[in-house]
């Protein structure tokens, strides 16, 4: 039945469904997990990388730039970090659009774009691809972790349909159901960033496909407020910083040989 109504975005099925959008969400459920937790003094994002391997050239992540390999977590503006799950090429296009939208707002109003407004801009774009033009929707879900003076720290999630909602803690991509229920049990309303970091890393270790956590498979970012300047500070961790963080949380993968010897 679905087959007759699923090849064009711009038509409904008799049951009132838009199949192309549902198929887009299906694509995302196979992508690497992205997890976000809102704390009272910051927001934490973590993501599982799917594109890994010894032959991958990661030299740019070690010295320059923002640290992340640029597969899952991106800096959208001084006050917003985005985490993407889904088709990487579509995600690149949306991230570029978000960055341009944030700069356009700065051009007109001379202040950083409010986080919800940025989410709305992207959602309006995505909704257009479900109603006009006959083009397929973007196969990407995004998490927006940001700060603005109006509502302080915020976390939003948007999907291919162009819908978005605000969250205290949420997860997109593979195993998001498991992660979501884990977060529901452990999340506390007045959690602080340092505890949120621990919560995120523990939840990631339970939901990721690989057995142990390490910087080759993990991207990590935190958004806080700088003490002195009172401006948002976005930090996307470099691989070495992720390893150091995992070691301090006690989640580093252990050397099996050493363990055997100890036993």
């Amino acid at each position: 039945m679905a087959r007759r109504y699923d090849s064009r975005t711009t038509i409904f099925s008799p049951e009132g469904r838009l199949y192309q959008i549902e198929y887009a969400m299906e694509a995302i459920s196979h992508a690497g997990t992205v997890l976000g937790v809102l704390a009272k003094d910051g927001v934490v994002l973590a993501a599982e990388k799917k594109v890994t391997g010894k032959l991958l050239d990661l030299s740019s992540t070690k010295e320059g730039g923002y640290g992340g390999s640029g597969e899952k977590i991106y800096l959208l503006n001084d006050n917003v970090i985005g985490g993407v799950a889904g088709l990487t090429a579509d995600a690149n296009s949306l991230v570029n659009y978000a960055r341009t939208a944030a700069q356009r707002h700065l051009l007109t109003y001379n202040e950083d774009i409010p986080v919800e407004l940025l989410a709305q801009r992207l959602c309006n774009l995505k909704q257009g691809y479900t109603q006009f033009g006959g083009l397929r929707p973007f196969g990407v879900s995004l998490l927006y972790a940001g700060y603005d003076p109006h509502y302080q720290f915020q976390l939003y999630h948007s999907d291919p349909s162009g819908n978005y909602s605000g969250w205290k803690a949420t997860c997109i991509g593979a195993n998001n159901g498991t992660a979501q229920s884990l977060l529901k049990q452990e999340y506390k309303d007045d959690i602080e960033v340092k505890d949120a970091i621990g919560l995120v890393l523990r939840t990631m270790s339970k939901t990721m496909d690989s057995t142990t956590l390490g910087s080759e498979k993990l991207e990590f970012a935190v958004l806080t407020l700088d003490e002195t300047t009172k401006r948002p500070k976005a930090k996307i961790y470099k691989p070495s910083e992720i390893d150091a963080l995992l070691a301090s949380e006690g989640l580093m993968k252990k050397d099996e040989d050493t363990e055997m010897k100890a036993a």
């Binding site: 740019s60 320059g64 730039g65 960055r99 700065l106 051009l107």
Partner: protein, 208 residues
Amino acid sequence: MSIMELNGGSVIAMVGKDCVAIASDLRLGNQALGLSSNFQRIFPVTDRIYVGLPGLGTDVHTLWEKFRFRVNMYTIKEEREIEPETFAHLVSSTLYEHRFGPYFIEPVIAGLAKTPSGGVKPFIAATDLIGCLNFAKDFVVAGTASSKLFGMAEGLWEPDLEPEDLFETISQALMNAVDRDAYSGWGCVVHVITKDKIVTRTLKGRMD
């Protein structure tokens, strides 16, 4: 009266030993009527590059907002800060886009470029209102007091000035030049850029 002389204002930049300095006056007027004595026309592009925008007041803001947009996009995509020479070309091409309806600004750029060894190389440049670049080795001037600034700079500048001496030199050049120009003055601001820090000083001048 030319449109470049409606609001008034002047900017100067000089090269020193491993440092650069850029300075401007603070006056915004409407021909002879003075309106504001703290009109900013020098803006930070990165930690190491400053751009001065003398000319029509509205275009000062418009151009600054445009450069900020483009430099932010550059930084976020390249994941590194823009180099002074690259920024100068960005200024030039932005202005040439409006070749037949130009912005009434003659930008002045001052910055420190990175050398492969990890050191810094002083860089200054200026363009005309349609983007013709001038890479000077000593100093660049622009604005309503530009002819006076040329004279002062030519007389006072010497190579390899240390940051403190460069500050004195550029300050004297600017202060005395704007005192001879009716449309510039009402206070001055000087930025001295070195490898480790930027020192900004506001100078008290004749308020006439």
